[in-house]
């Protein structure tokens, strides 16, 4: 049986703007296996949200997607709009960053969750309603039968995010995309939501694409890690390798630059410079202007993602010299 549920091949999502072509995602190759959590790390503008939107084909104008996105071997980019609609929310569900704006304020919570269920499953109203209450209970909303009649503004941020998760999981998706799902939450609430996602993953057996810039969250939740920088995949490996023995200067630098609870440091090793713009990214390796190992070759030749050991790929021209 094929274990890979999603495979992204040569994905290019370009935005054709007046200022030029913004290569938000450029030649991305990724794989997500069944029951696996893939952590997608990247800063603002690295293309992580665009990747998620590309998978669901929700990229706004003037964006254009090329490449292949194989979900169970079928290319989502070749599906009709109608077929896509049953994939979205049905097989692949997404939790958005901002629970305040992604719920409709004029419908009750119960209404919004049952809409998702009715669209994808053939059930009568009573069953739908039972499902809604079950889901709300599962995500830990007390007094679910009453609260489902409440409107989004009657919920706190953490509760709203739970509602989003309930909605996303209501059709038992095979892949859950969580785009900065806990970024706006307080740490104690974040802890609860992460715990919830872990439990639900066990229960439903879904795979998760976890998009975040918080390395702590990634370390805790993921099995594998993919690092994006300026639209390019820089490194791909399992979570322990990523944090213990990264083999790309960007991830290495990132890990050294963050203040952490578990390590004492007098001074942080800051990464020089700023995140590049996408319309005119640096020549050669996109990270080279900020890389402490950069040599002349780095601004001339664009590195390819190569497998340096089984299951560990890195896109650095000097990876052999630096890390071996």
């Amino acid at each position: 049986m094929n274990k890979t549920i999603l495979q992204i091949k040569d994905l290019k999502t370009y935005f054709y703007t007046d200022a030029g072509i913004a290569k938000a995602v450029d030649e991305l190759n990724l794989k997500i296996e069944r029951k696996e959590t893939l952590g997608l790390i990247g800063e603002s503008g690295s293309g992580k949200t665009v990747t998620a939107l590309s998978i669901l084909r929700l990229v706004p104008f003037p964006g254009r997607i090329t490449g292949e996105i194989l979900f169970h071997g079928e290319n989502l980019l070749e599906k009709s709009e109608e077929e896509m609609r049953s994939v979205r929310g049905g097989n692949i569900a997404m939790i958005f960053q901002d629970p305040m704006t992604s719920l409709n304020p004029v419908y009750t919570i119960g209404n919004q969750i049952s809409e998702a269920i009715e669209l994808h499953q053939d059930l009568d109203r009573l069953e739908v309603n039972k499902n809604v209450i079950d889901m709300l209970k599962k995500v830990g909303i007390p007094d679910a039968a009453t609260r489902q009649r409440d409107y989004p503004h009657q919920f706190s941020g953490g509760m709203r995010q739970r509602v989003m998760i309930a909605m996303a999981l209501s059709c038992n998706p095979e892949l859950l995309i969580a785009d900065e799902a806990t970024t706006n939450l307080d740490v104690t609430v974040q802890a609860e939501v992460l715990e919830l996602m872990k439990n639900l993953k066990e229960e439903f057996g879904s795979s998760i694409l976890l998009i975040t810039h918080d390395l702590g969250v990634v370390a805790e939740m993921s099995d594998k890690v993919a690092v994006l920088y300026a639209g390019k995949l820089m490194e791909f490996c399992d979570v322990e390798t990523a944090f213990m023995a990264p083999q790309h200067p960007y991830l290495e630098a990132l890990l050294e630059s963050i203040p952490r609870l578990d390590v004492d440091k007098e001074r942080l090793d800051a990464i020089a410079g700023t995140v590049p713009e996408l319309v005119n990214p640096p020549q050669g390796c996109r990270f080279h202007p900020r890389c402490k190992y950069a040599k002349e070759i780095c601004n001339k030749q664009e590195p390819q993602l190569i497998e340096i050991e089984p299951g560990h790929s890195s896109a650095c021209l000097r990876v052999d010299e630096i890390y071996h």
């Binding site: 740490v187 702590g216 370390a219 890990l255 630059s257 963050i258 203040p259 700023t274 900020r290």
Partner: protein, 322 residues
């Protein structure tokens, strides 16, 4: 250097067509602490706990409801207009959002020179230009290249540098930094934190560092005060607080932070219930409805902040730590 005594800020809550007053939001409800010369005190807590309100009230950017704030022995809240000008020069603030705290119609030069103008610190034009370019350089920007540009031309990190240059313009003694790095890209955050550290040393600044990010606070601060729903529940040296939190809330807060190390699987304390509203905070200890150690006394009597650390000053407001 800065002493805050029983500071309170209540907002009126009005309802109905006649705007009848129906209650108060107890945003900051009687907090006391002091900041010693040269140290960085962290003020941490979750959203809505009153940490930003506390910062703004100390500077009198919003008027307090009650309490006293002494800066170098002088009461800020009783200051006359003229005295207030001096305070405003010596106390500065760096805001959270570098996008909305810079006027989009002013160039970097205008922004950084404005405090000089207001306080009459540089009267001649060339003196002003000289001072501004010095400040811009100190904040890590290039005067030649950046001085006459507008805020929209800069990235988040660079904007925060402009905000820092502006705060330093009056040569302040104390800076209140309200979440200075929370809206900045991860890879740039370290630059700004290092910059703050360097400038602190160079200008011998004292800092009140308001943040919700406990990893950042651990790195930057000498002492930390933890707030929960308008109250301070614990103040201690950074090391003591992180290694040995005494208040149940601090313990929960610290256990909730995800650590970027997949080998460390920490035991996490999950909280029951929701953060109470500051309109009707729980009686007694405000944390008691969610506290796993709560005893009957916690529901009735409000715990006072007491020192349990001897000379090292570890203050905690909990009935169970006596």
């Amino acid at each position: 250097m800065l002493e805050v005594r029983n500071l309170k800020k209540y907002y009126q809550l009005k309802a109905g067509i006649f705007k009848k007053q129906v209650g108060f939001v107890h945003a900051v409800d009687g907090i006391s602490f002091n900041v010693k010369k040269g140290e960085t005190l962290g003020l941490v807590g979750e959203s809505g706990c009153g940490k930003t309100t506390a910062g703004l009230t100390i500077l009198r950017l919003i008027e307090p409801t009650a309490g006293e704030v002494f800066f170098e022995g002088k009461d800020i809240f009783k200051a006359t207009k003229k005295e207030m000008r001096t305070f405003r020069r010596e106390l500065q603030i760096i805001f959270q959002d570098p996008y909305s705290s810079l006027n989009p119609r002013m160039t970097v030069y205008d922004i950084v020179s404005e405090p000089l103008k207001v306080h009459g610190l540089a009267r001649k034009k060339n003196e002003k230009t000289e001072k501004v370019s010095q400040l811009i350089k100190k904040a890590g920007l290039s005067p030649h290249e950046h001085m006459h540009r507008y805020p929209h031309e800069f990235s988040g990190g660079q904007r925060q540098r402009i905000g820092i240059a502006r705060a330093l313009a009056t040569n302040p003694k104390l800076i209140i930094a309200d979440e200075p790095v929370s809206s900045i890209d991860v890879s740039v955050r370290a630059q700004i934190l290092n910059l703050l550290q360097d400038l602190k040393k160079e200008f011998r600044l004292t800092m009140l560092f308001i943040s919700h990010d406990l990893s950042v606070v651990k790195h930057v601060c000498n002492r930390v005060a933890v707030m929960y729903v308008g109250k301070i529940v614990e103040i201690a040296k950074t090391k003591d607080l992180y290694n040995n939190p005494q208040h149940p809330y601090s313990e929960v807060l610290l256990s909730a932070i995800p650590v970027p190390n997949p080998k460390i699987r920490r035991k996490r304390i999950l909280l029951r219930g929701e953060v109470p509203t500051p309109v009707n905070p729980p009686l007694g200890c405000r944390f008691h409805p969610r506290c796993s150690y709560a005893e009957p006394a916690c529901e009735k009597v409000e715990p006072k902040l007491i020192n349990i650390g001897g000379p090292d000053e570890h203050l905690v407001a909990c009935h169970l730590r006596k």
